[in-house]
């Protein structure tokens, strides 16, 4: 790919690709910050994780709010969850990713959006 192509035909594509990568990087950093903040002990992957009501009851408050909202929505982005919980999108993104690491939620990318959901058919 020569300079002309870069500047003339595909700059938008490249910028989007860079933005995507930056967003992924940002999400990873948010998870790392949360891991630091809350200690690692409650963010370990669980061998038998299922997002049932007793699990919801025993969760730390900050994660329960996010988990309850995803239960109600079924499938949502961090942006959609943040609109319901009135917390920042970045915060919800971090909590959702924590729940994914713990095995309670699954994450699926569709284009530039990341969707989170509780897999009721095949829980881990």
């Amino acid at each position: 790919m020569n300079t002309e192509e870069l500047l003339g035909k595909k700059p938008l594509y490249l910028l989007e690709k860079i933005k995507d990568n930056l967003e992924r990087l940002n999400e990873k950093m948010e998870v790392m910050i949360e891991l630091q903040k809350h200690g690692r002990k409650d963010i370990q992957p669980l061998p038998d994780a299922s997002l049932d009501v007793m699990t919801l009851l025993s969760m730390p408050d900050h994660l329960r709010k996010t988990a309850m909202t995803i239960c109600r929505c079924g499938r949502a982005t961090a942006e959609e969850i943040s609109q319901q919980t009135a917390r920042a999108r970045a915060v919800e993104s971090a909590y959702l990713n924590q729940l994914v690491i713990m095995g309670y939620l699954k994450k699926e990318r569709k284009g530039r959006k990341a969707y989170f959901y509780a897999d009721r058919e095949n829980p881990r």
Binding site: D52, V53, M54, T55, R64, C71, R120
Partner: protein, 258 residues
């Protein structure tokens, strides 16, 4: 958009089923489209109260993913003299079904929660229902907490009994608060129900339980004498109990539970 109500209590015998049936009937009599569900799988009772001997499908089947919810609903609207619609979904009363439901694991309960949450879309949004009323098992049961998590408003039935007061208070602060659920308390079997005591009782409930009072129900001997044979809201339209339930239905309808 319709609402989901769960009727729950800490102890058994507080009048959950009596309240669920009559509240659902009172809402239907106000012209609403209502579905009442028996989620007390340990001790199903709606089939007996509503005198329905046969059902092709049960709520158990829906939660098991074996059928759609429409197959479970039985239309009892013809029993009402008013314009409302009244449907019921029954829990399977056979010993085998009760045993089966008590042996479910966490993953099944998680799917059951998903199926209950799905009713918001299938019945409230698409089916045009105004209210779904869940009659639950007392205490910390999976099926009851699933119902509470699904509900928009939880109606908690309690009596003046010391063990019930203390347990209800703990249940509200240690469970309902965690789920941030809107709750209305019904004080049932009240002995001294003079009108002058109403404000005092309301204040006492607020102080003791930290939740609003939806209503209080005096101890009516007629209810005991009826031996579960009447739906008061339907068969005894002029009875004071029917009027109290209608007041509660009105409060729920106007979102006046505060």
């Amino acid at each position: 958009m319709g609402k989901i109500l769960a009727v729950h209590s800490y102890k058994g015998g507080t009048g959950k089923t009596l309240l669920s049936v009559n509240l659902a009937a009172a809402l239907a009599k106000r012209g609403k489209k209502v579905a009442l569900f028996d989620l007390d799988f340990r001790a199903p009772s709606l089939f007996a109260i509503l005198k329905i001997n046969e059902a092709s499908h049960w709520v158990n089947d829906y939660l098991n993913g074996a059928c759609e919810i429409n197959k479970v609903l039985i239309d009892l609207s013809s029993r009402l003299q008013e314009n409302g619609k009244f449907f019921v979904g029954l829990a399977n009363p056979s010993t085998e079904a009760m045993r089966d439901m008590s042996a479910k694991d966490r993953k099944w309960e998680m799917r059951a929660l998903g199926n209950l949450l799905a009713l918001r879309n299938t019945l409230l949004t698409e089916g045009g229902f105004d209210y779904l009323v869940f009659d639950t098992s007392p205490g910390l049961q999976y099926s009851s907490i699933n119902a509470i998590v699904t509900a928009d408003l939880v109606v908690v039935a309690t009596t003046g009994d010391r063990s019930d007061v203390d347990g209800t208070r703990r249940m509200l602060s240690e469970m309902y608060n965690l789920f941030e659920k809107k709750t209305g308390l019904v004080l049932n079997k009240v002995l001294d129900s003079a009108k002058s005591k109403k404000d005092e009782m309301s204040r006492k409930v607020q102080t003791t339980y930290q939740v609003p009072l939806l209503g209080f129900v005096p101890c009516f001997c007629e209810i005991l004498r009826a031996e579960g044979n009447f739906i008061f809201a339907q068969d005894k339209p002029d009875h004071p109990f029917t009027k109290i339930l209608d007041e509660m239905a009105k409060k729920i309808e106007t979102d006046d539970v505060k």
